[in-house]
Symmetry: C2
Subunit: 401 residues, 2 copies
């Protein structure tokens, strides 16, 4: 490793430490980053001179003289994160401390023609960035989270079944429409990164598999603090695990993929079919009319004890558990985090999924895995996009630091 | 990163470079390792003083004065690798250049009672190490590759379906019986590491998923040069992907696992059943008697055009392709390497597996993946055990370097 690369890594580690634990003193930074005190002092001095961090006076003494406490200058840099979900677009601005300072949501609406959609999206991003009262030069860029297969490096959407997009050069189009540095990444990956980040620098580095159970199903692996990307940009596609080869045709071309059996869209379709067939259920009454039946209605009916609804979500949970048990057999993660809209419908679904995982995972495999529900809220994907953007800017030495 | 750790990493990179490209000069080492010439010179001097590398005189000039060429002193260190397969035990000795200098194979025989098996294994290892005429102090340790779930760190066999072992403290037992440093790792992981290592230091770092298709089925992921281990030691268990929930009961307790459908053991069982049912086939004639039917007989019959055999191996290839397509959807590797006994039966099986992968992988996913057959021979797992051992000794600073 050359000295310049090492210096960059050391600087980045100091900043990550400050982001997580500000205010903090030099001795704790040295402990967390495993750097010597003189190295930390030299890095801190440079960051102070450039206005990226500042002293906020003396902290509590732990015996000797009270240490000087440092913090990140929060409004020195801002990152914009965009989550293009199939039903809702969410945009956030994060400050240099990775704190969300503004957000916006709007229905996604029609995604075709692609060009018209991207133009509408760019106007929305411009409206949002104008509203946050940050100097334009302080906005470091825009990170965009998109469902589907995104080509590594180019930010081209190779295939997004939910959006019915094929080979859409999303990053190139947005670059022409926006005056910002642009990054496009798979939505499940940025969500996984955001959900996996722990609050403290001194926690051990975990391996996390996070899965997004919503309109579609996808996942991503985070090893320590690094996103596992794969060779071409298509890793994490657990939604296209084949669970039942005689199952329904999936948008990807195969039969019986997990997504075609157990996604929010699949649950809604199964309920609509049950109503159409005249099977007795409370689902229709809750939805008003057949076309208004969505996964949320099915969960509401299930929570009221409706047998048809319980059967549909029971089957969905069983299948999701099978898919996740295969991910556990293959990845043996420390943590499995279940995120997305389907997880917001009460504890019943989570319990059923855990039961199925227990039943289908190979005996003794994944014994360390802690299974939990994502807790970082509806803007988690958008915040993850800011995080991936910041990492990328850092890696490319594209920050004024 | 502290200076001591950095110095270790730099030294290790220099040695890896020497192992792969000896004889080599200082300038090339600097280029490959991204270190400065003075740093390389200082490391090289230390390694020469300790007798780990030596000068072999001047090389060809590329304009200026001819550079001094360096090489590893091959007989300075030896590593022992043991591959405990279900049918055969293989033992190798590798020199400091990672070259195999001796090998031994013996039928595995009875694996129960566990204690008696481990005692027999230890006698075999002692017999082998005595035969290689290396000073005992130059033997750095013994790396053992074992099929099944191996607990990270302790080297305990949590569960080995093939051996019918549960909670066998293999490493602890061997440590009491052998005068060497011991390491126990999952066989599929050490095989994957060995198959993934490229000959040159300047190749890009690939992500490799290697799968062992033999008596059982298992795989492992190698990211760059690092084995992906997982939290508890059970990663890579693609053999327990559930392919058909109505399938046969697997040794792991589930139904329709890939291993129960398509391993060497499963192929043999299916052929035995066909013969028992009186289905017309050449398999019985090739084997002599029903109990002697193994997977190799089925492949021989298939290569002669036998319809029953073709059907059995066609179904096995189809299922293996489904399992691998799920691994591709999840991992998006640069390389997929198929190893193990089943791959030694001609090109037909490989072609059928590739067809099934093409049919079942999500559209556009894994577009960069290069699929190949492992080429490192029957001692690849044993050599991989040497490699994992060397890495571990290095990591723990347990080498006299």
């Amino acid at each position: 490793m050359d000295k310049f690369r090492l210096a960059q890594i050391n600087k980045y580690n100091v900043i990550r430490c400050l982001i997580r634990e500000s205010p903090i003193n030099r001795a704790i930074i040295a402990k967390r980053t495993e750097l010597s005190i003189p190295t930390v002092m030299s890095i801190v001095n440079t960051l102070c001179e450039k206005g990226f961090i500042r002293s906020i006076g003396k902290g509590k003494s732990s015996g000797g003289k009270p240490p000087e406490m440092l913090e990140i200058v929060a409004d020195r840099l801002f990152y914009i994160g965009v989550d293009i979900g199939r039903t809702t677009i969410r945009i956030v601005a994060n400050d240099a401390m990775s704190r969300q300072i503004a957000c916006l949501r709007e229905p996604t609406g029609k995604t075709i023609p692609e060009r018209a959609f991207v133009e509408r999206l760019s106007r929305l991003i411009i409206k949002f960035t104008s509203s946050i009262h940050a100097e334009k030069s302080r906005i470091m860029g825009v990170g965009v989270a998109m469902p589907g297969l995104i080509e590594n490096g180019t930010g081209k959407v190779l295939f997004s079944p939910d959006f019915e997009w094929v080979n859409v050069p999303l990053k190139v189009w947005l670059e022409k429409l926006l005056p910002f540095y642009l990054l496009v990444e798979n939505a499940n990956r940025v969500l996984a990164l955001n959900e996996s980040v722990s609050a403290k620098m001194d926690e051990p580095l975990y391996t996390t598999f996070a899965v997004n159970l919503g309109y579609g199903i996808g996942g991503a692996l985070v090893i320590g603090e690094d996103l596992y990307k794969g060779a071409s940009g298509s890793s994490g596609e657990i939604g296209h695990f084949i669970i039942n080869r005689e199952g329904p045709l999936c948008k990807c071309g195969n039969r019986g993929c997990l997504e075609s059996l157990s996604s929010g869209a699949a649950i809604a379709l199964q309920a609509q079919e049950a109503v159409r067939k005249g099977i007795p259920t409370k689902i229709a009454g809750l939805a008003g009319k057949e076309s208004a039946i969505d996964a949320a209605c099915v969960f509401r009916a299930a929570n009221l004890g409706d047998k048809t609804a319980l059967k549909i979500i029971g089957r969905a949970a069983e299948n999701i558990g099978i898919g996740l048990s295969m991910a556990i057999n293959l990845l043996d993660p420390d943590r499995l985090i279940l995120c997305g809209g389907l997880m917001k419908n009460g504890p019943l679904f989570f319990e059923k999924i855990k039961t199925s995982i227990g039943k289908h995972t190979m005996w003794q495999a994944g014994r360390e895995v802690v299974i939990s529900i994502g807790i970082k809220g509806e803007y988690s994907t958008a915040n993850g996009a800011c995080r991936v953007l910041a990492d990328k800017l850092w890696e490319n030495r594209n920050l004024p630091i």
